[in-house]
Amino acid sequence: MRNYIIKRLGMGVVLLFCVSFLVFSMLYLMPGDPVTLMAGPLVKAENLEGLRIEYGLDRPLLVQYAEWMTNIIFHGNFGISYKYRIDVWSLLKNCIPISLRLTVTTMLISEALAIPLGLLCAYKKNSLFDRVTVNTSLVLTAIPSFWLAVLLMLVFAIKLKWLPLSGYESWKNYVLPITTGVIGGLASTIRLTKSEALDVLCEKFVTTAYAKGLDNNTVLKRHVLRNSLIVITVNMFMSLPWLISGYIVIEKIFGIPGMGNLMINSIIQQDFNVVQACILIITVLTIICNILSDIVLGILDPRIRISVTGGDK
């Protein structure tokens, strides 16, 4: 088990450097001169050379990358926002907790609803309940989150006036964003849970469990649920970063000052250091979640602990 975790961590670090290099070189993949892009249209052409040296852009790419990474790792220094003229980190440090709190809450509520629903659908396959749930989730997958958010706003904030339209002071502000997020993730989790539970129900060891004389409830709980939870839990960890990226839209609509909102505004205003920092943080989070899910998989599935090749699924 320890070797397994170490191997996973090692791969994570390698991935981290690859991805961070990719994110860093973004600026250089762009058409046009990075200095012009950074400085904006107001800076005169004769001052650009000075800025280039000031920003250290005249040096080789790898040197710049090394410096950028050292600054981030040892000083938490992501550079300066060209638009706000302040430290990027001081912008981010207020946004990250807001986004994280939202996504984690959403994930927990979503899983708590979707797993029982999915399991019920699998146990009562082809029943009325199953068909209603499956068809509803089929419709839900066709609804983009931005439209769902607008609809919820229309009904609950404008027509019924139960909840505020936007803002971030009281808990009431978070009801609609979280509802949007939960509904958005519900359908896929229900489907995954159902198909996984159905797969397990077809396994021969379930027949064995019945043959042993166990009653239906025990078989479902001890053998079917326990085994389907492996994939479901792993998926839960994997879905966290995707939720964060999904929250870009929701944060923008409801005016929540989270990372997503910051990122999309920075993209439109071409504030590259901020965009870079946001992408880097979300990718790092994704890699951490991947490693975590691999470790959880190892804990839940004894087969993985032996053969370190897991993580294919």
Binding site: Y210, A211, D215
Partner: protein, 326 residues
């Protein structure tokens, strides 16, 4: 002579399929006595596994219709409720499956899975665990204590099948159904597993219903044999009846298809054609399309059961004319 344990009476199993029914088992009757090893032989897909699974109502899809009676100690299991059957499963009738890896849950230790059934009899966890070790020794599991704490994937195929057997004999059932117990195993392991099954019968007087396509195995351990073809029992009798005096053309062909020790026979005999798919109900013998002795009557009328001796019977329109040396 001996006490009757399981008696199937005109058992038929139909699967609901798209556009009708598929007759998997048709009108099967036989009796297994206490302490007897009863073998069911036939090609794959002939319905032998279906019989085994329908006795304990373990057919996976739950889209089957079981007709007829399954008398176990005089009571019809087919009439039992699900709750009543739960008390039979594992306790009165154990069942061993073909592939011992698929049949064990990968996330629990083998010991727990064996103990799980025992704990239904209100035995404490420690007692159950001690008994697991004891049974592991009975089934000649090497290193019993360690193996009880191992997960299924850490064991070899033979050891997994031992776990499976241990699981099913843990509550000393009166009948053990073994569905192709050695098909997935090496020949050397096969002999060991068969020995365990035989010992079980000798020590606990457990009856065994052995399902296989391997005649060699039958000759080695079985007391009685039923030969199945396309969902029907075409011939049944003691091992000596079947091997020394086969009556049904299908049995005869099977006997010829067996590899012999002598080399003089040349090529192995094969049976041409394949088992018909039984979607439509029809009259006539089901072996008609492959039978070398087919007659007009075979295509229109079901053959009657003919009795040779008290223990030996077969279903065919031919009687006596065909000799073994044909």
């Amino acid at each position: 002579m001996s006490e009757e344990l399981l008696a199937l009476n005109k058992l038929s199993v139909d699967y609901k399929v798209k556009g009708g029914y598929l007759s998997a088992v048709n009108n099967v009757s036989f009796t297994i006595n206490k302490g007897e090893i009863f073998a069911i032989v036939g090609e794959s897909g002939c319905g032998k596994s279906t019989i085994a699974h329908s006795i304990l109502r373990l057919l996976p899809e739950h889209n089957e219709i079981i007709k007829g009676n399954i008398f176990f100690n005089g009571e019809d299991l087919n009439e039992y409720s699900e709750k009543q059957l739960e008390r039979i499963r594992g306790r009165e009738i154990g069942m061993i499956f073909q592939n011992p890896l698929d049949s064990l849950n990968p996330v629990y230790t083998t010991g727990f899975q064996v103990a799980e059934g025992m704990m239904l009899d209100n035995i404490s966890r420690e007692d159950a665990w001690n008994r697991v070790i004891q049974i592991y020794n009975d089934v000649k599991m090497p290193d019993a204590e360690k193996r009880a704490k191992s997960f299924p994937h850490e064991l070899s195929g033979g050891m997994r099948q031992r776990v499976m057997i241990a699981m099913m004999i843990a509550r000393t059932p009166q009948l053990l159904i073994a569905d192709e117990p050695t098909t997935a195993l090496d020949v050397t392991i096969e002999a060991q597993i068969l020995n365990i099954i035989k010992t079980l019968r000798d020590e606990f007087n457990t009856a065994v219903m052995l399902i296989t396509h391997n005649f060699g195995l039958v000759a080695e351990v079985a007391d009685k044999v039923a030969v199945m073809y396309a969902g029907e029992v075409v011939e049944q009798g003691t091992v000596f009846d079947i091997f020394d005096n086969p009556k049904h053309p299908y049995t005869k062909l099977l006997m010829k298809a067996l590899p012999r020790r002598t080399k003089s026979e040349g090529r192995l005999q094969t049976i041409d054609g394949s088992v018909p798919r039984l979607t439509e109900i029809r009259n006539g013998c089901r072996f008609e399309n492959r039978c070398p002795y087919v007659m007009e009557i075979c295509k229109s009328k079901d053959p009657d059961r003919r009795i040779v001796t008290e223990s030996h019977s077969f279903c065919c329109h031919l009687e006596g004319e065909v000799r073994n040396n044909e």
